[in-house]
């Protein structure tokens, strides 16, 4: 576990001696006093450290003004297993690709992605991108909507920057060839989503993320300065210590197709690896979202923030409740729209009791977070796997006209929604927290920038406003460009640096034995399911200190059991395989979520705990997780590579 978790000031942890045991309504309304209270200023905290080393420590290798103009290194490699780039981008979603396209004007870029390039959360983000594009709209309004949705935990500077720069980012996307819906008069069609006071959602039919991804990918593939390395799984960042600072020099990857370790040495690294939905059993995220970036960053001594704010959707189709179970596990959850409840759908538990009126007088029409908590509470109390959403009392033609997707999907699995209730269960959707970023995407690790879902920029606060995630990715990817470029120009790559770190070794049937490999694989899959089960059961939507402590204990036990098995069967510190590396990242992220949740002694936004069920003004500060102490670290908490040389890397 992380050794130091604080919610702002460490003393705050001990201040709140009161324990609330209220049974009151779980309405998300609250009152705020006018004065803002913030121990940590996002931009200053991180930027100060960045500025201090520009003065001296961080130019690795002194470069005179003559050399500094354009120090782009051609992609020469001493062997095929080490590659040198000015910029390395981890992740090929909107953040990674947008950044790559921009920095490619300054130097050469490697984009590393663990699957096919289009496989990312971006591709599944189908709603839209929010931006102030209507003259009747205003940046202030978008800011206000964002801060209200974020339960006022957002960083105001971040919100201002994102809302202000959003429109420009959209224009650029259009210039790059992204095609958004428009009206007959040729103007962009703007929709209005829940939480927004104005129409400001730019979209491409119902596949906005896919359209943006398509446009960016096309540009990336056409750019001679960008090399895309698909099926390259990022293992750990390569770092060194420079006095008190940690410096990032690149990343080790595993080429999944050739089973080979490929080391990337670069002057600047952008982490844009997306979310961690697969720490939970039911998620909308594609399989690639295993929290790799958050875990690698934590292991590399980056500060992590606000991991307790996990966004769930209350009603995803529950495969367990379908008469014909899908033959293969559904990769990403099928979310049932609120429109079903809006059109009169009723929620029942498996005893056919209508439970919503108990929780809220608005019943099924209560706000989504109230519904999510209610369903979660029912499931935990009754120890059941799903609840039922029944629309069958409505006219058949209307149901089929409004919800044909649900109807056909259910019918494929033996369920007729015009006659039977739909089994539903909440699904994890988005991580508001992540690697703490300053206003230019900088982290406390020099040379490491972050953008997109992996980052915690302060935009989302305690809950994300709809359609703000693609926007955040675009804005921060762009903002990271200038500091990245400056850093790149003042850095000289040490081409002999590649052997300063031990190399990961790929686990093969030859090295460990066929039978051992298959046992490890089987155990890893089972352990993943168990971890997801623990997370859902104890770190779900309705939390409590007891349950969180139980989660902490169970996760530690599970991790120990898994690691022990591996290491007793010939696994070593530097051995890697895709499933094992994903598993260690899942463990790492799960622990970060639990630690963060334990640290917040209030309920706010997405984080609800029965021990502190109310919002506390004095707790309106981000949760910070500092790096763990190496002595307590498990395999998932330590970087694989050790520095093999004793000399520093300056």
């Amino acid at each position: 576990m992380a050794t130091h978790v604080s919610v702002g000031n460490i003393h705050d942890l001990y201040l709140s001696g009161q324990v609330y045991r209220g049974q009151d309504s779980w309405s998300s309304g609250f009152n705020f006093r006018a004065n803002s209270f913030r121990d940590l200023s996002w931009s200053s905290c991180v930027s100060k450290s960045l500025k201090s080393e520009r003065c001296g420590c961080y130019s690795r290798g002194v470069s005179s003004s003559n050399e500094s103009l354009k120090l782009s290194i051609r992609a020469a490699s001493s062997s095929s297993t080490t590659k040198y780039y000015d910029f390395t981008v981890i992740g090929s979603g909107v953040a990674g690709l947008r950044y790559a396209l921009e920095v490619a004007k300054q130097g050469n870029v490697a984009v590393i992605t663990k699957d096919e390039p289009h496989e990312s959360n971006t591709n599944y983000a189908q709603g839209g991108v929010s931006a102030v594009l209507c003259p009747l709209d205003s940046v202030e309004s978008h800011m206000q909507d964002t801060m209200v949705a974020g339960a006022h935990l957002c960083d105001e500077d971040t919100v201002r920057v994102v809302c202000t720069e959003g429109p420009e980012r959209i224009r650029e996307l259009i210039a790059m060839g992204a095609s958004f819906d428009h009206g007959e008069d040729g103007n962009l069609h703007l929709a209005r989503e829940g939480g927004h006071s104005h129409h400001r959602i730019v979209h491409a039919a119902d596949m906005t993320g896919r359209e943006i991804e398509r446009a960016l990918l096309e540009a990336v593939l056409n750019d001679p300065n960008i090399s895309v390395f698909k099926h390259h799984f990022a293992i750990d960042l390569l770092t060194s210590q420079d006095g008190l600072n940690t410096v990032c020099h690149g990343v080790d990857t595993l080429n999944i197709k050739t089973n080979e370790v490929v080391r990337f040495i670069s002057k600047v690294t952008l982490l844009a690896s997306g979310g961690a939905g697969h720490i939970y059993p039911s998620t909308t995220n594609p399989l690639v979202a295993t929290g790799d970036g958050m875990a690698m960053a934590h292991r590399a001594q980056a500060v992590i923030s606000n991991m307790e704010f996990v966004q769930f959707h209350p009603t995803a189709l529950a495969d367990e409740g379908l008469p014909i179970r899908p033959q293969t596990a559904r990769e990403n959850a099928f979310l049932i729209t609120e429109a079903v409840r809006g059109d009169g759908g009723i929620l029942y538990n498996l005893a056919m009791e209508r439970f919503m009126p108990v929780y809220d007088e608005r019943a099924e029409l209560a706000p989504r977070d109230v519904v999510a908590r209610s369903i979660d509470d029912q499931l935990k109390k009754r120890k059941e796997k799903y609840v039922l959403l029944d629309i069958s009392h409505k006219p058949r033609e209307k149901i089929l006209a409004h919800f044909p997707n649900i109807a056909s999907e259910c019918l494929r699995h033996g369920l007729d929604i015009t006659r039977q209730a739909i089994p539903v269960v909440p699904a994890a959707h988005y991580m508001c927290g992540g690697v703490r970023a300053g206003l230019q995407g900088e982290t406390n690790v020099l040379g490491l920038f972050v953008a997109g879902e992996v980052a915690c920029t302060g935009l989302h606060g305690a809950n994300r406003l709809a359609s703000n995630s693609l926007l955040e990715a675009l804005v921060f990817a762009r903002r990271a460009v200038q500091p990245s470029t400056e850093l790149m120009k003042s850095t000289r790559l040490d081409l002999s640096a590649s052997e300063k770190w031990t190399r990961p070794v790929v686990a093969t049937a030859r090295s460990l034995g066929e039978e051992v490999m298959s046992k490890i694989l089987a155990l890893t899959r089972e352990v993943r399911r168990e971890l997801q089960g623990v997370m859902w059961k104890y770190v779900g939507i309705v939390r409590s200190t007891t349950r969180l402590n139980t989660a902490e204990r169970k996760i530690a036990e599970l991790e120990a059991k898994w690691e022990t098995f591996l290491f007793e069967h010939g696994w070593e510190q530097t051995v890697v395989a895709l499933e094992a590396c994903e598993m260690r990242n899942l463990f790492c992220c799960a622990k970060l979520v639990v630690s963060s949740a334990l640290a917040r002694h209030e309920s706010r936004g997405l984080h609800y705990t029965t021990d502190f069920p109310f919002v506390e003004e004095s707790k309106r500060i981000p949760t910070i997780i500092l790096p763990s102490s190496p002595t307590t670290a498990s395999w998932s908490s330590r970087q694989l590579q050790n520095i093999s040389s004793t000399t520093s890397l300056i």
Binding site: K105, L133, L190, E193, G194, T337, A466
Partner: protein, 106 residues
């Protein structure tokens, strides 16, 4: 909940604040696909516009149109004037973004 009227943007004017509307409308209002214009942004980094593969885009649009039921061009929403948008009820009418029952954003 307030009605979800779709707001039309005002026609492009010469004012600086709505300058950005111009390239959009030029790009989108004609039947064929003209190459995307240079963005008028004053940002110093923006000296290069990446042009998409126009043939690819046109092909994709054709494929999309073929998929449309009832044939003959893109779907135009009579109430809102939106071209190429989703058929059926407004996707955001209950706050989330839904298409034919499946929610994709919220």
């Amino acid at each position: 909940m307030a009605t979800n009227k779709i707001v039309r943007l005002i026609a492009p004017s010469r004012s600086a604040s709505s300058r950005f509307l111009e390239p959009v409308s030029r790009f989108l209002s004609s039947g064929t696909l003209p190459p995307p214009p240079q963005s008028p942004s004053p940002s110093p980094n923006q000296d290069q516009v990446v042009k998409p593969d126009q043939k690819l885009q046109e092909k994709r649009k054709e494929e999309e149109e073929e998929e449309e039921e009832g044939g003959g061009g893109e779907f135009v929403n009579e109430d809102t004037g939106e071209i190429g948008g989703p058929r059926g009820p407004e996707p955001t009418r209950y706050g989330d973004w839904e298409q034919r029952g499946r929610c994709s954003d919220f």
